[in-house]
Symmetry: C2
Subunit: 108 residues, 2 copies
């Protein structure tokens, strides 16, 4: 459980991975399409996606030969709770975010 927090913060500490998460905010994407804007190999992006998956920030589902990457914002919950305890901050509004996603993309 402490490990989860480690993994999440570590995953967020890399600019490439944060950029990937921002891209996935707009829509689910195939690995190749995720890699396209970056000036690094597909293998490197694949590793970044593994790290994001391990942190629970995304999930990946293979359909045919294409592996789709999907944002999992719920993984930010624990980091939010920690920040809340740290600074008496308000919790991030996760329910509102999920509603936002559903209304935007009709996800279940």
């Amino acid at each position: 459980m402490n490990d989860a927090l480690d993994n999440t913060f570590a995953a967020l500490s890399d600019p490439t991975r944060r950029a990937i998460l921002s891209m996935l905010l707009e829509d689910d994407m195939a690995v190749t399409d995720v890699a396209e804007p970056f000036e690094m190999s597909l293998a490197a992006i694949s590793k970044h996606l593994t790290i994001l998956t391990r942190a629970g920030l995304i999930t990946q589902e293979k359909r045919g030969r294409v592996k789709w990457c999907k944002l999992e914002p719920g993984a930010l919950k624990d980091t939010s709770i920690w920040m809340q305890g740290f600074g008496q901050f308000e919790a991030v509004n996760l329910d509102a975010f999920e509603k936002f996603l559903k209304s935007e993309f009709g996800e279940s």
Copy 2:
């Protein structure tokens, strides 16, 4: 500026450093006192404090031979802004936190 976000998230990814921040939430502390509860060398803690300082999460002020460590919650602002952009989350309430700190410890 992107680097700052890198540094902050990376600093938060280590459990020892998060524990240090929690300790400093209660009061300013000398380096030796910060190190006391941990089963590692003073030099190791000193390094952790350097990383927290580089991330802007704490400041250190030397008075006499004692170096005092002080929490700087404002450094969480950028991470908060990023999370906000990422998930349409509410911004963390930084003003409220500063008021909380002042009322609690009378800091200026």
